[in-house]
């Protein structure tokens, strides 16, 4: 029973976070672009995400005539489920985790590879060429960058000696620098780049490149189904930011303990990474598809392999 309550709390908190991540994004990018961002709905525009949510919920749900209905319905749900399932294994603070499993990191990989099915099926089921191309792009992008993502974390696994996320944090606290981002700087770099690609964010937002593919795989989606994709994307960002925090930035540990808020540092680090996401989006142009692929295969994967080799050597020598 307690588990159900915890789950509901977690889902509620995360959905609220998603809503306000969009607000945060619009404010951040707004100020970077010499404008204000939302200001009208509520004080400082704080009710804007709520209004958006209500609007999306009540919008007409258009389904293209020749779409494959079953998969068209299923695709956004697959995406959302895959993103949300990750939340279960994330430790937000010491002991504050829904399901402490000893393959937490692998579970996250498994779920993120599942998310690509949602995307590619959305593209296929819409029976629209823009969607289809977006879906194909996303599929190959996610497969390629998942390799780099996984390899970049191997160094962390080697240093921590565990796949359990909580244990990784614990091992990190005992390590010399307190965070793995310093000894694993190469891995961290690869991870950050692959993380952007994995969540389809700028400058790797090709699957939904609006200038070429209209909106990529969710071109044909509207209303609540569109918002499911939207939520999945933001939860995906949150999960990736959490993984970065847990594996490289020392998780919930900070320079000093904040009383009564055990997850303070965790949240602060996540929001820092989210800010980084938005900052990049406001600054960088978009890669071209083949450039993205060659970056992934020819730069990131070799770098990640190098990182593994170096980590292995260092670990055996010292």
């Amino acid at each position: 029973m307690a588990l159900v309550v915890h789950m509901l709390i977690l889902v509620g908190v995360v959905l609220l976070h998603v809503a306000y991540a969009t607000y945060f994004e619009r404010k951040v990018i707004g100020h970077m672009q010499v404008r204000m961002g939302p200001t009208r709905v509520g004080p400082l525009g704080l009710l804007q995400p709520i209004a958006d949510g209500i609007k999306l919920f009540f919008k007409e749900d258009v389904i293209p005539g020749c779409a494959d209905r079953t998969l068209f319905y299923a695709a956004p749900i697959i995406c959302l489920v895959a993103a949300m399932a990750n939340l279960a294994v994330l430790p937000f603070a010491s002991g504050l985790v829904l399901a402490k499993i000893n393959i937490g990191l692998l579970f996250v990989f498994a779920m993120s590879s599942l998310a690509s099915y949602g995307v590619v099926l959305a593209g296929w089921a819409s029976n629209s060429k823009f969607s289809f191309l977006g879906g194909l792009r996303s599929m190959s992008q996610v497969i390629s960058y998942e390799i780099a993502l996984g390899l970049s974390l191997v160094g962390v696994m080697m240093m921590a000696g565990s796949l359990d996320l909580s244990e990784i944090v614990a091992a990190q606290q005992q390590s010399r620098f307190g965070i793995y981002a310093i000894p694993q700087f190469l891995g961290f770099f690869v991870f950050v780049v692959a993380m952007l690609a994995e969540t389809n964010r700028a400058p790797f937002d090709l699957p939904e490149a609006e200038s070429e593919l209209v909106a990529g795989y969710f071109t044909e989606y509207s209303g609540i189904r569109f918002s499911l994709f939207f939520m999945a994307e933001y939860i995906g960002m949150l999960v990736m930011a959490s993984i970065a925090t847990i594996c490289f930035l020392g998780g919930w540990s900070g320079p000093f303990a904040v009383p009564h808020v055990p997850f303070f540092w965790f949240a602060a680090k996540i929001y820092g990474i989210m800010f980084f996401y938005f900052w990049l989006r406001a600054t960088l142009p978009r890669y071209r598809y083949d450039q993205l692929m060659s970056l992934g295969w020819k730069v990131l994967i070799p770098l990640a392999l190098l990182n593994i080799v170096v980590t292995g050597f260092v670990k055996t020598i010292f």
């Binding site: 970077m32 672009q33 819409s126 060429k129 200038s211 989006r281 960088l284 142009p285 978009r286």
Partner: protein, 407 residues
């Protein structure tokens, strides 16, 4: 299009002669700058063939012009390249004045030069904004609109409208510039180069930007001339052709400026050319402000217009201002027979008007040589064998406006 007998198929169907994936990009598409439609035949993401389909915005301007007086057609020129309507006004009036042999006073010439350059800046700014957005850099968009807004404010002060200005008149301009507006303009020109530097810091040294633009959509000098490209799209290929220098109009022979020339003719060079042109335009405006002579703003022998001019004048023979209508009697003195082709350097390229007059008060034939039309015509050649993402970059770099293309 593919068959629909098997409903659930969204796959490229490989049967018979076409092994290619066809995509109809547009007419409603965020990156086709209006209502352009591209039929693309793709092999994977490589465009094997591109067939642009224009005409969605065709309004029959040339037919309309044959049934309107010269002055009546003027507001319609705003709707050509609606991004920089001022330049169209200038081009149309310069052409009509050449046809009707009207001498425009010097002050009006300078004002026209000034507004044409302002229009070029607004046009280029919008181009930069949308081009950067196409490539994915969204912040430049809003920076450009900040400066564009300032210029549109000035247009509003000059003409009363921000977009469809109809500011020039046959024989001059609608009304004289105000000191306040000129002060604002001077301030703008002073500040503008630093703003350009700001845009450049955002994208010029960005590796992704360079990767997306350098070596993409190369057009050789010979090819560009062959395709009839004009304006920055031609000059980026290294061809020194600028109507302002070749056949000076307005006050362009009285101001100093340089024409930036590119080398490779790729998307990046077209971008660089336009950025340099922004600087040169600011320079021209500054010179115009310094040199702006006093005097009349409308020629004495300008034909009467439906709208009153700034200065009350005697109605000319053959018209009656009192009733507000123009009596169109064939009058070889006012509307001499003959034809003329006059072009100006619009922000997109050479905007030309070919007029045939038969002595009546209306054009016998008017042809608009619009740069966008010719650029889109050349798109098929440039887009062959590039990736679909590059098509977007190329459309953006050629800078087309469909209002002007389809007329």
């Amino acid at each position: 299009m593919m068959g629909t007998e098997f409903r659930n198929l969204a796959v490229p169907v490989r049967d018979g002669e076409s092994e290619l994936f066809t995509v109809q990009m547009g007419p409603q598409h965020p990156a086709t700058h209006g209502v352009l439609k591209l039929n693309l035949w793709m092999d994977g993401e490589t465009v094997v063939r591109c067939d642009p389909d224009a005409g969605y915005l065709h309004r029959g301007f040339e037919k309309i012009a044959e049934n309107k007086t010269y002055a009546q057609f003027l507001p319609l020129t705003d709707r050509l390249d609606y991004i920089s309507a001022m330049a169209n006004n200038v081009g149309y009036c310069v052409a009509v004045e050449a046809l009707l042999r009207i001498e425009v006073p010097l002050r009006a010439q300078y004002i026209r030069t000034m507004v044409a350059e302002m229009a070029r800046i607004t046009g280029h700014l919008l181009w930069l904004a949308t081009h950067a957005l196409d490539i994915g850099a969204m912040t430049v968009f809003l920076y450009c609109f900040r400066e564009r807004g300032l210029l549109l404010d000035l247009f509003e002060e000059l003409s009363g409208a921000r977009l469809t200005t109809t500011y020039t008149r046959i024989g001059g301009v609608r009304q004289d510039v105000t000191a306040r507006a000129m002060e604002k303009l001077a301030r703008f020109v002073e500040e503008f180069p630093s703003r350009i530097a700001e845009y450049e810091t955002l994208i010029d040294t960005n590796r992704i930007w360079l990767k997306r633009t350098k070596g993409i959509g190369c057009v050789s000098a010979e090819q560009a001339v062959q395709l009839g490209f004009t304006g920055p799209s031609l000059r980026a290929s290294g061809v020194d052709y600028d109507v302002r220098k070749h056949r000076p109009y307005c006050a362009y022979d009285k101001v100093q400026f340089e024409v930036p020339i590119g080398v490779n003719g790729d998307v990046y060079d077209r971008y660089r050319c336009r950025m340099e042109e922004l600087r040169q335009s600011a320079l021209i405006i500054r010179q115009c402000l310094e040199q702006l002579p006093p005097g009349a703003i409308v020629a004495d022998n300008a034909p009467d217009l439906v709208m009153p001019l700034a200065r009350p004048r005697q109605p000319m023979a053959g018209s009656s201002l009192a009733t507000g209508y123009i009596e169109l009697v064939p009058n070889n003195d006012v509307y001499p027979e003959g034809d003329v082709y006059v072009s100006i350097e619009g922000s997109k390229g050479e905007l030309g008007f070919y007029f045939v007059s038969d002595g009546g008060g209306r054009p016998y034939r008017m042809h608009i040589r619009s740069p966008s039309y010719i650029h889109i015509g050349g798109l098929a050649t440039v887009c062959e064998g590039v990736l679909v993402a590059d098509v977007i970059a190329i459309i953006g770099s050629l800078d087309v406006v469909l209002g002007e293309c389809d007329r």
